[in-house]
Symmetry: C2
């Protein structure tokens, strides 16, 4: 839960722009608000922090050291907010974009927003008009259908098998990783390594039956004697929280717990004798290359680091 001292997103954005432009007024103009409003917002923020963030002079404003610090932190928030923005923009159905795509859940959740932001800034930098994208998020099978039926130009799917009749290109991989809370015995072992048999015999925190990650896990462990799940939850966020609280190990998509691993909320444990990698592909109908235009650009961008 967020404390009472967190500034607004637009306030954070304002601070970042002030840092770049070196002027409250210029920043205000850039954001389309009045200079007075900008001044007042910054003052509110300073009240929240309890220290001056901006050193005002009669010919511009610079950030104080504290301000620089806050901007660094704000940058991280705004990066994530920009991906959220790109995602929401792609969901909006009222103003249909020029590019209609469909994506599996994992990709829509963790990768597509980043691609959209990246592609957009890339295009803007080259002076191009940024592509407007409309996205449908659904399961892999349905994505393939939509592409095949021509309802969307481009799809993103997971799994090993190529949908019949569609061309594809590798755009990434998603690995299921086994994670535990930092206080779990497995996290305290020197090697942080367990065997596939041990994993199968341990009660795990799992997603509900039918979910993508659950299916992959079941298949990978199919031949081994299984323990019954410790807990069955309906969202990845709930699984992460439960594991962090010590409910037991879980296998989740690597992208979903990237931040948790970096911050130490969760700890990764290697599993010997198990391959839990899924390949993520862009798929389309027709020629050997994606359809000319924005679709091709998006695929090229996504495939940049597969």
């Amino acid at each position: 839960m967020l404390g009472p001292h967190v500034p607004d997103l637009r306030a954070l954005e304002l601070l970042v722009v002030v840092a770049r432009t070196g002027s409250l007024g210029a920043a205000a103009t850039e954001l389309g608000i009045s200079q007075q409003a900008a001044s007042s917002r910054v003052r509110t923020m300073e009240a929240l922090v309890g220290e001056p963030l901006v050193a005002r002079s009669k010919r511009g404003s610079e950030l104080t050291p504290t301000g620089e610090l806050v901007v660094q932190w704000a940058d991280r928030v705004l990066d994530a907010a920009q991906e959220l923005d790109a995602g929401i923009a792609a969901l909006r159905v009222d103003r249909r974009g020029h590019l209609d795509i469909a994506a599996s859940l994992t990709i829509a959740e963790h990768l597509l927003p980043g691609w959209l932001v990246g592609l957009r800034t890339h295009q803007v930098q080259r002076g191009q008009q940024p592509t407007e994208v409309t996205m449908t998020a659904t399961n892999t099978a349905r994505v393939a259908e939509l592409v095949e039926a021509g309802d969307v130009v481009l799809g993103f799917v997971e799994g090993p098998e190529a949908p019949r009749g569609l061309r594809r290109r590798l755009v990434g991989t998603d690995e299921l990783v086994v994670v535990v809370g930092p206080q779990h015995p497995w996290a305290l072992r020197a090697r942080r390594r367990v065997s596939a048999e041990t994993l199968a015999a341990t009660p795990l925190v799992v997603r509900e039956a039918g979910s993508g990650t659950r299916t992959v896990l079941e298949r990978a462990l199919a031949d081994r004697p299984r323990a019954t799940p410790a807990l069955e939850l309906s969202s990845t966020a709930a699984v992460r929280a439960a594991v962090a609280a010590g409910a037991g190990p879980a296998a989740v998509g690597a992208h979903a717990v990237r931040d948790d691993l970096l911050t130490g909320r969760l700890v990764r444990v290697a599993v010997t004798g198990l391959d839990l990698t899924r390949r993520l592909h862009a798929v389309w109908k027709g020629g050997p290359h994606p359809p000319e235009g924005p679709a091709r650009e998006l695929v090229a961008w996504a495939a940049r680091r597969p």
Copy 2:
């Protein structure tokens, strides 16, 4: 710049809590607002997205598939916001915390907020009262002075040499990495690898003289013939932006460009024959272990993954 469809931070938080509790009213109570306010906020958000996010029934509310998607994206934003919150809380001087620390800029910017969040949730999970921390961010030399003078109990410093008379423990490393924009020739090479000589002879985007990263870079390249900088900027954010726009290569702290590398805004290039690693240490005065209590806990947490 952020689009007009980005919900407020508190609205995002509300959505996440609704997802967890399964009820608008319960979420409202948890956040200390009225049920009607929560209902209205969610409706506002749905208007922004253009699609229902919450499936309301007469006995609770669930998220729609779209809602789940937005929550995933919101989670990333809130994670970053939580670090910002922890950072701001540590800056506030009015209500002095129980633990007074000092940290070098790199650590304060990129690592400390994560440690504070991690430690806090760890303590809350074990039913402890979370430690209140007050932080001073300054350069390494000054941090050492503060610890030595007893003004702060604990410090975090960078650099190879141990401050005289202080005990220390390794809490992480910060590597300078060389990055270029995705369209830069070095990024297009198969191996993405250059020699130290090539790097030294190339006009780089650098921080202003006297900054920590600049100093490390200068020292590492001291013996080699140097090109004059392509651009000299006063903040890491400006350097990142310039490099992404194609102004030239730069060497920056790995933590600072973590997200840029993941999203492909920047591309990392390996440099042969150069070690640009800085060690980050916790330092304190007195015994071989950090002072009993919150200071020791924080060090233990920070050193968890050095």
